[in-house]
């Protein structure tokens, strides 16, 4: 898959972008999502589970979207999932992601039920397959932020 990439420096000059325009957006946690990101920083994947009805909410909201209760616990997920669908970004992404092209964004079904959007990493793009088994890996993008990402369980698929 040839990308025929335009260099980001060329784009920067052409559009008069400043360095700030190339800074990647990071998650800004809410009051109710903060524990998720704190756990990610410790390389743990956690999910918000309602103590009253057992519903798991991801993304988490202020109170349970099934029964509106406040009481909840953060449970550690198995870190296993499957690939529901994917896209390979080749061109025309926000400028901070230009240098990463080509990269995979995917819809991942967690073993616990919820779905996530994330990147598939360490994977040969030709060996992406719907339904393939995935495991979580943690990308420490800054000292304060870690993004959970996913890679194939099957080592022969890793690129």
């Amino acid at each position: 898959m040839a990308s025929g990439q335009i260099d980001i420096e060329t784009i920067k000059a052409m559009l008069g972008l400043c360095d700030e325009d190339l800074v990647k957006p990071l998650p800004i946690p809410t009051k109710w999502s903060k524990p998720f990101w704190e756990a990610a920083l410790q390389h743990k994947l956690v999910l918000k589970k309602c103590s009253k009805c057992g519903n798991i909410d991801h993304p988490p909201y202020m109170y349970c979207t099934a029964c509106m209760a406040d009481d909840h616990e953060w449970v550690e997920a198995s870190g296993k999932g499957t690939l529901a669908a994917y896209a390979i970004n080749i061109f025309g992404v926000p400028f901070p992601f230009w240098a990463d092209l080509p990269y995979v964004v995917a819809l991942i079904d967690l073993a616990e039920g919820p779905r996530m959007i994330s990147n598939i990493v360490e994977c040969d793009h030709d060996r992406l397959e719907n339904g393939m088994e995935l495991e979580v890996v943690f990308d420490d993008v800054t000292d304060e932020v870690t993004l959970p990402k996913w890679r194939p369980v099957d080592e022969s698929r890793r690129g």
Binding site: L17, P25, A84, A85, Y86, A87, N89, P94, R115, I117
Partner: protein, 400 residues
């Protein structure tokens, strides 16, 4: 909800495309006058003026603030205006604003409502547009940090839909070709100069696999307007009113990860019941429709909506499109203005353009794109990251 309680009696539209010198105010004032003149009414008959939200705001002269604070009735001299407001639900705005209009009509405060949409993307830099659209379709906390975009979301859904239904990339491309064929017949379409082929669409520059540039909609400046009134008044003042005969709606999610339906080949389990409700409420069925005005914005969405309309087996729409059945002259004319992909994507205006085209078709004013003898059609829109879906069965007569 009564069958045929409300009607549209006039429309106006400006060409969609890159018009940096044509301000959104100019667009709004122009389409408002066109719609009023088309309806045959006097401007002072307008009792309420509703505006759709302008996508992105200009802090120096914000259209949204101006319209919320009553600029439009003053500017067009609508002396009889009693109510003005702005309504928005992204791509579904043509629906939600119409419901607002119906509420005002039903209240009895006004019997004629002017509804206006205007957009000018070209006042913003490519970087401003890129920034806005990186957050408009994706969740800022959970998706944007992964480099997710609107195109990647559509690409992902396309990938899943193709994998699960066996639809080919050529069939996906055929949707774009069909849209372009319709756009070629539309004077206001952004892309109406040059036909495209399946081969060209498939081999265009890859944006987000499996989508090429020609499978992605293009933003354009544009606008349109319509005049809505009660059926009772419509019959008195208009020789060809277009009635709303039956509707259905549902909401699914903000973020795709929380959609009501998980399997990408089963999206019809969400959309088909909505269409069914619209048909049932109108007393008509898919076989009675002369046109299917589908709002896709990406070819896969056109197919998913087609799958739910009852004239094709779910998952098989791609083959139907590939056979030319949805193109001009086909058995199932779909998206006759060329849709977001070839008409152009004017922000909250895609649904407006589709609705205005629906009215033109049923009034016999669709020019070269006219489907001969069109009496009934089903119109569709939806917004956000495929957050909702609306269908309306419309007709130029109320079935007895």
């Amino acid at each position: 909800m009564g069958i045929g309680e409300f009607a549209i009696i006039g429309t106006g539209e400006v060409p969609c495309g890159n018009y940096p010198e044509r301000s959104e105010f100019e667009v709004a004032y122009s389409v408002a006058r066109m719609a009023i003149q088309d309806s045959g009414l006097d401007k002072n008959d307008i009792g309420a003026v509703l505006c759709a939200q302008h996508i992105m705001s200009n802090p120096d002269n914000d259209y949204n603030t101006e319209m919320v604070f009553g600029r439009l009735p003053e500017a067009i001299g609508a002396k009889g205006c009693k109510v003005t407001c702005m309504t928005s639900s992204g791509g579904a705005s043509s629906y939600s604003i119409r419901k607002t209009a119906e509420g005002i009509l039903r209240s009895g405060e006004a019997d004629t409502v002017l509804v206006v949409h205007a957009q000018r993307f070209t006042q913003f830099t490519p970087n401003e547009q890129a920034k806005y659209f990186s957050i408009a379709g994706s969740d800022v906390e959970w998706e944007v940090p992964y480099g997710m975009t609107f195109n990647s979301l559509a690409a992902m859904i396309t990938q899943g839909y193709m994998n699960y239904t066996g639809t080919t990339i050529e069939q996906i491309a055929a949707v774009c070709v069909a849209c372009r064929k319709w756009a070629m017949l539309q004077p206001n379409a952004m892309f109406n100069h040059k036909e495209i082929t399946v081969d060209k669409v498939v081999n265009a520059r890859m944006v987000s696999y499996p989508l090429t540039t020609l499978m992605c909609n293009v933003l354009g400046d544009g606008g349109s307007a319509f005049i809505m009134t009660t059926a009772e008044k419509a019959r008195k003042v208009c020789d060809r009113p277009v009635y709303f005969l039956g509707e259905g709606s549902n909401y699914s999610h903000r973020t795709i990860t929380r959609g009501d339906v998980k399997d990408l080949d089963q999206m019809t389990t969400f959309t088909a019941p909505i269409a069914k409700e619209a048909y049932e409420r109108s007393g008509l069925g898919p076989e009675d429709m002369d046109i299917y005005e589908i709002y896709g914005s990406y070819p896969v969405v056109n197919l998913m909506v087609m799958d739910s309309l009852g004239f094709v087996e779910p998952g098989k729409s791609g083959a139907l499109v590939e056979a030319g059945e949805t193109s001009p002259g086909g058995k199932y004319p779909c998206s006759t203005n060329g849709e977001a992909m070839s008409f152009g994507h004017s922000g909250t205006g895609v649904g407006f353009a589709m609705l205005v085209e629906s009215v033109r078709q049923l009034q016999g004013k669709a020019g070269a794109a006219q489907v001969e003898g069109a009496r009934f059609l089903i119109e569709n829109c939806g917004g956000g990251a495929f957050m909702d879906c609306h269908f309306a069965v419309m007709g130029n007569e109320i079935p007895g």
